[in-house]
């Protein structure tokens, strides 16, 4: 009988699979988690995975954490480059140290040539870093399979037809499987298991928070190209060993997972039919095995593999080219029953040995049920990042900048993936390849389209002293002149215009000098200070051509200046005649009512907790009750609930937010205004009643879920499910687009009669020059306004890209004058806030058009049940 290699591999495992004892079919329960990963063109230390992990504490519960690392420095490992590249790095976790010799004698020494073996260094006392459960001792072996052993293995399984290295891979896989069966799965008291056995990679996991892996195994100064961390949230209380923690690996990859499969059993069956027997009872292990099956055994290219994981469906499938449809249909036919169902998001770091590259891959489920953010920073060094929350990305970058100033604290680009889509396939891949100029990082989507940041722009080295030259004099004079006025009301705008109009001619030093000079005026008086804050904020918020300087670097310079200005404000403990008073975590107990001229409470959020009684949001509510109405919060690092808990009627309140803001901002607000000077995270404006939210960037998942009213202006995109179940009269402008499920079950009355609506502009900004550009489609998702019974969507769709197939219960109609009169004031406000002019919005391909030609209206199909206004029994 002729078998292909796939069948041979599968068959070769029959014996070892038959030795797996019957396992409990219940999975280990866990929900979502926090996941984070990054890959750099230079190796960076384990310290840098520490910060983002610590930031995502509240996504785990301290009962499981793990890290993965790929791409090491040979010297640090004490092996030659050759050994590092070629050898398998076998990491064995010893839950019971006494089995070490036995494992070596039975499973390692007889089969492997050992180039190096060592016990990983650890802290002496795990309790010193707050760990309750002692992490396992880990043995590391650099090994190759002995020639004669491999020969026998190949002969026994008729593997002659395959690449010798592939056979060796399979041997390593099977050998570890035997160890895991013997010392883990078959035992009540687990004794040992293989954490990882891939090449140039490792996985370490503990019962505790992920960052403690770094501390316990002393990885602070240990370098790798790619790092991955996972905070686990097992719902069971007592966990004594980290067997079920992430990352999981099958061979050369480390996979972390946020979410859980609804079809664990089905995937289990699918795997067993192919002689993959999961031993650790978690869906994450299944995901790693699927990956291994499809990539190593079936040898699918990455694109096929992603399609098998997250099938393209609905309208997205129809939008694919014909040949792709055929291909994907074949993949789906064979593997759809193994496609993970339910909420999941994977980050995979892998050593792609076949193509000689390291990769970091993020894949989201088709329905985008878990949060995910991608980011890219390019320049002298390059880095790609994937996280559950944007703030974890920022924390990574801040940490990296401390280690190497060639990194900046703000990425050049942040974006989300649209799951199972024809646009990006719901997946992005950062590949790190050797080139003539050293390692180069390339970011592509599922289809191989390259994601780039503008070329030829430079970053400012903020650590360097500014060399002042006589050429700077005119800048100084100009700024001084702008401040030499008695009425400051227009000054901020003029300063903004000046910088915007001249930045094209600036080099990093001129820019920094200019911003420093502006900042210098803040100390003069409160009016000047307010003017400087406003001007720098405008420069931060708006999109314009930043010339030869990276926008992310300009934002960095502005952030430093603004932080300085806020830091220099009088502390709450002093009583002055200033309009500003500053409070931080240390002085929070000193909170008091505003005195004298005090009007603005500046809150340094850095050390506040993300939630609970020590969250800054709680303190802000107290401050409001004491009479404060204006707030500036800065140095945010993911703290949640800003603006929540004020209660009804808060019309005069205004909160300005700087830094990495957190989830649930503006939820339940009733009248106040909140300005977020940057991207926002998930669950904003839940049940919002009245008031205004302005976001100078993107918003995350389920924005305005169940909102009753209020207005919101979003400069960029919304992620999945904005305005779901919203009622009443919310009025929203989204300048970008939404991932999918926009305004599902929208019930916001009749917009022409006081009800709510969404204006969707479908535009973005050119990364290179900040100009406005149209997206290919204003809304590429398959579902818009589904099951809605009220409200409307006004979509800027001059090319009529939206089609009936995207609707489920809605209909397209032409907009009337009444519609335009309704939305125009919102577009005017949008213009004021974001400098997105109505003129530009009505311009299509260079020609100014009438509103009716540019905007379309979507309203509920069955014009909301016509009923007489009585509740009686008319029958």
């Amino acid at each position: 009988m002729i078998m292909d290699n796939v069948e041979k591999i599968t068959q070769s495992r029959a014996e070892i699979c038959s030795q797996v004892p019957p396992l409990n079919m219940n999975t280990e329960e866990e929900g979502g988690c926090g996941v984070t990963g990054f890959i750099c063109s230079i190796p960076v230390t384990g310290k840098n995975i520490f910060e983002p992990s610590a930031q995502m504490h509240n996504r785990g519960n301290g009962k499981g954490g793990g890290i993965g690392a790929v791409g090491f420095v040979p010297e640090a490992m004490g092996v030659s480059r050759q050994v590092l590249q070629d050898d398998y790095m076998l990491h064995i976790a010893l839950l019971d140290g006494s089995v070490c010799t036995e494992i070596e004698d039975t499973f390692i020494k007889p089969f492997f040539k050992i180039d190096k073996s060592e016990k990983l260094a650890t802290l002496n006392d795990h309790r010193s870093i707050g760990l309750d459960v002692r992490p396992p001792d880990v043995m590391r072996y650099f090994v190759r399979v002995k020639d004669d052993v491999l020969d026998k293995f190949i002969a026994a399984n008729k593997f002659e037809s395959m690449d010798r290295r592939d056979a060796e891979d399979e041997f390593v896989y099977q050998n570890s499987f035997k160890i895991n069966t013997h010392y883990y799965a078959s035992l009540g008291d687990k004794k040992a298991f293989v954490m990882s056995h891939g090449r140039n990679m490792m996985i370490l996991k503990i019962v505790g928070y992920a960052e403690n892996v770094v501390k316990y195994y002393k990885l602070d100064d240990f370098k790798a190209h790619a790092w991955l961390a996972h905070q686990r949230y097992p719902t069971r209380g007592r966990v004594w060993h980290p067997g079920g923690c992430h990352p999981f690996s099958a061979l050369n990859e480390a996979l972390v997972h946020n979410g859980d499969f609804a079809n664990y059993q089905a995937v289990n069956e699918y795997l067993k039919q192919r002689n993959y027997f999961p031993l650790f009872l978690t869906d994450t292990e299944e995901a790693a095995l699927l990956l291994d099956l499809w990539s190593r055994v079936y040898k699918y290219p990455l694109e096929y593999l992603i399609e098998a994981m997250a099938p393209t469906s609905e309208m997205d499938f129809d939008m694919l080219p014909k040949d792709k449809q055929e291909l994907y249909k074949a993949i789906q036919t064979h593997h759809v029953n193994a496609s993970p169902d339910g909420p999941w998001f994977f980050i995979i770091a892998r050593n792609d040995v076949k193509n000689d590259q390291f990769q970091l891959i993020g894949i989201t489920d088709t329905a985008m049920l878990r949060p995910q953010v991608f980011a890219l920073q390019e320049g002298e060094v390059q880095i790609g990042l994937i996280c559950s929350e944007k703030q974890a990305i920022d924390a990574t970058l801040i940490s990296l900048e401390r280690e190497d100033p060639r990194f900046g604290p703000i990425a050049d680009k942040y974006w989300n993936a649209r799951g199972g889509s024809y646009t990006d396939g719901g997946s992005f891949i950062f590949s790190l390849k050797d080139t003539a100029n050293g390692k180069e990082l390339i970011c592509t989507d599922k289809f191989g389209n390259v994601i780039k940041t503008p070329k030829g722009k430079v970053a400012c080295d903020v650590a360097k002293r500014i060399t002042v030259t006589p050429e700077f004099k005119p800048i100084e004079d100009k700024i001084t002149a702008l401040f030499a006025v008695s009425d400051y009301s227009a000054t901020a705008g003029k300063i903004y215009d000046y910088v915007k109009d001249n930045i094209a001619g600036f080099n990093p030093d001129t820019l920094r000098f200019c911003i420093e000079t502006i900042k210098g005026h803040a100390g003069k008086n409160d009016d000047c200070k307010q003017t400087v804050i406003s001007a720098l904020t405008l420069l931060n918020d708006h999109r314009f051509n930043t010339g030869s300087i990276k926008r992310s670097s300009l934002q960095h310079v502005l952030k430093l200046a603004l932080d300085d200005i806020f830091d220099a404000s009088p502390a709450i403990t002093e009583i002055t005649n200033s309009r500003f008073s500053r409070i931080n975590f240390a002085s929070r107990e000193k909170l008091r009512a505003p005195k004298n001229n005090e009007r603005v409470l500046i809150i340094d959020a850095e050390h506040f907790e993300p939630e609970g009684d020590l969250c800054d949001a709680v303190m802000i509510v107290k401050a409001f009750q004491l009479g404060w109405k204006r707030f500036i919060v800065y140095k945010y690092r993911g703290q949640r609930f800003t603006g929540c808990g004020f209660g009804p009627s808060t019309k005069e309140v205004r909160i300005d937010i700087y830094g990495a803001s957190g989830d649930y901002i503006a939820s339940g607000i009733d009248g106040m205004e909140i300005y977020i000077h940057g991207n926002a995270q998930d669950q904003l404006c839940q049940i919002m009643k009245e008031g205004k939210l302005v976001v100078y960037g993107d918003v995350g998942q389920t924005f305005m879920y169940g909102a009753k009213g209020g207005t919101a202006f979003i400069m960029g995109n919304a992620a999945g499910r904005p305005l779901i179940n919203a009622v009443g009269k919310p009025r929203v402008v989204i300048n970008g687009t939404a991932l999918d499920y926009l305004a599902e079950s929208f019930m916001a009355g009749d917009p022409l009669n006081g009800g709510g609506f969404v204006i969707l502009n479908g535009i973005g900004f050119d990364d290179a020059d900040g100009s406005i550009c149209e997206y290919d489609s204003p809304y590429p998702g398959s579902n818009i306004f589904s099951l809605a019974s009220g409200g409307a969507i006004y979509v800027r769709d001059p090319h009529r890209k939206l089609v009936d197939e995207q609707l489920n219960g809605g209909e397209f109609i032409e907009i009337t004058d009444a519609d335009w009169n309704l939305i125009e004031p919102y577009l005017k406000e949008n213009e004021k806030l974001f400098a997105i002019t109505i003129e530009r919005l009505l311009t299509v391909d260079g020609n100014k058009k009438a509103p009716q030609e540019v905007y379309r209206k979507i309203r509920p199909l069955k014009a909301a049940a016509v009923k007489k206004d009585d509740d009686g029994l008319e029958e």
Binding site: Y233, G237, G612, V618, Q683, N725, V727
Partner: protein, 493 residues
Amino acid sequence: MKPSTVKIKRMPSRFKHQVPKYKVTRSAACINCGTCAKSCIYGVHERLEGHNKMSVPIDYKCIGFECENNDFYCVKKCPRGALSISLNPMYETLGDYRWTADMITGTWIMAETGYPPERTDLEYNTGNSGGGFDKLRLKFPKGHSKIDKFEISTEIPLNRRNDGRANIVISTPVYGGGMSFGSVSLPTMVSKAHNATLWNTFTCTGEGGYPDLLLPYSDHVITQVATGLFGVREETIQRVKIVEFKYAQGAKPGLGGHLLGEKNTESVAKMREAVKGTSLFSPFPFHSVYSIEDHKKHIDWIKEINPNALVSVKVSTPNDVDMVAVGSYYAGAHIIHIDGGYGGTGAAPDIAKKNIAMPIEYAIAKVHNFLKDEGARDAVTLIASGGIRTAHDLVKAICLGADGAVIGTAEMVSLECVRCGNCESGRGCARGIASTDSELADLFNEEWATQRLTNMYHAWNVQLVEILQKFGMRSVRELVGRTDLLEHIDYSK
């Protein structure tokens, strides 16, 4: 014990003729002498002043054949032999296997009198479902109890976390389940809240907003935050002492909420700020919560809005309900409310009610034991619901491991629901309970309904105290998890 605010007062049926168990027939031989009216102590016969004839017998008050040994047995007393008693064929149409006609009648009597029925011809403590609580019996010890009824406490604390939030103690281990404005009428909601206040316990808004008429009772109202977020605003979260997240209902897990267009009247739509006459759906999940850490964040949010409130998490009973419960505990919930599959009004689809969730008696024990193994049982209050029909069901649920129970249908039956199961159709309830139709909702007033509920709660409390006394316990808290006091009739020796 009942709080001093509870006053028991007879509150008769709204209808002259309920569905009676017996039919009392007066033949043409009657001479209208009035002997029967004088002898019957239950008021079946009336000889009204100024009337020529006897009134038609009020059948539902008749205790039936067991009366025949009494001196005052009307059939024997009648000088003309004009009276006879037979089983009423209509009675067979009342109720169903879970809520038998006897159980409905028993509940009506409790709501009318404030005490358990004295007649012995009604099997009102257990139903006839052939499973669940109906197969369980309490095993009372022999001999007399030395405990005085007045020493027995039926109070339970709801906050066991010791986290500085409100220390709420309810006087009886029962509170009212969430029924939204829209699914039930305003007088129904208000009387539930008024009764909860009198009984120092709670009722829940359900998912349809917080009508202003409930404001006087805010200390005893639970604001429900459910997946549609209808009517939920910061002030409705801030004004209460308990906020309940409804993740799922045992009667229809995974199906979300659903109010058909017909019941979405002007006033309902206004409260929910939705469009009148359209069907209103609450999604089956919280779209903001797809995992346990989202759930924690969700709870943190509510705790941030109301720094003093307790958080209750209502979930249905899937196979892994134990994990869900322990996860909710770790996420910061004070009350885990598990809702089993027996409950549900007519609005839940039959196929869901009968087939999806795990029976509550399994779920309670599973969750109780799991929490115990985790060492978390003492720090969380476990509330069961979904088919708690009687005081005996309540006691059985507590013996299995719950601290208390939430009831829904029993309250509706007290208001003379006949379990016709048409809650969702047309404008709703023929009896004016589950309707927001302006005329139907006027079929009773709040005073009547409040007293009926108060009476029913009292009758349950009386039964509970009697049972505790028989068990020799001074507090209902001693009963928690005492499965040894239960027997399954199929397996008992």
